[in-house]
Symmetry: C2
Subunit: 142 residues, 2 copies
């Protein structure tokens, strides 16, 4: 899948006394397909989780805590990577269609949290994994 | 609505190298109705957000960070409150049907985060608010 099919959408933070409210995903949002599952994934300081490719699942990725670099790759273009940095300072939702390799790295000194709201439930059989050195992205350069 | 109609469901934390994965809600989970919206609500240390009642919305409340006391109330039984403490140490999902008054309080020294996955989109017109002293719950006692 082409990397420009990944959609980035700025999300609202609403100031509320006692603690802010942060939007994530509405049924009426442009590009929303259907709900399958919501789950959280922590990523520890200095950690990298890479690579994974979903063959059926569309992801909606939101980072309410910390700062995470997401890297996307299409094997048709071996040297090309798309990078998006999400977190408290750039509070957005990434909608990622299936058939794109991706990895992510914590850029914060603390643990960061990704929420994924996907259109189908998790099943190992619809995803592929690859070792971090499978694709020539230079993770240390930031 | 009767307070025993609030459902509590233990959620899985899956150990993963680089950061754990935490379940939240699947389409196939018992009691799941439909997806309307997902959003986050921070609650600052020592803060209380109370009271609110949704007239149409069913809530799915999950606390991936911190420790929060939720208090539920049905005005048919003026002295009765149902209390559930959720957070990292008791990682559960609360499913709350409409027509129940609720409030919540941060019991952690740090900010805590609630995720709500609701069956309809947020609209102010379907909820009522009341001042904290409207119902005789003793928030300071814990």
């Amino acid at each position: 899948m082409e990397l420009n099919s990944i959609n980035i959408h700025k999300l609202k933070k609403i100031p509320v006394e006692g603690g802010n409210v942060l939007h994530a995903l509405k049924k009426s949002d442009k590009g929303f397909k259907k709900f399958g599952e919501a789950y959280f994934s922590w990523i520890n300081p200095k950690s990298i989780k890479a690579w994974k490719k979903h063959n059926l699942m569309t992801l909606n990725l939101i980072v309410p805590i910390g700062k995470i670099r997401f890297v996307f790759h299409n094997t048709m273009y071996p040297e090309v990577f798309r990078v998006e940095i999400l977190g408290e300072g750039n509070y957005c939702r990434l909608t990622v269609p299936p058939n794109i390799w991706f990895g992510f790295q914590n850029l914060s000194d603390h643990a960061s949290l990704v929420t994924n709201i996907s259109d189908i439930e998790h099943q190992d059989s619809e995803s592929d994994k690859a070792e971090i050195n499978t694709f020539p992205f230079k993770w240390s350069e930031y």
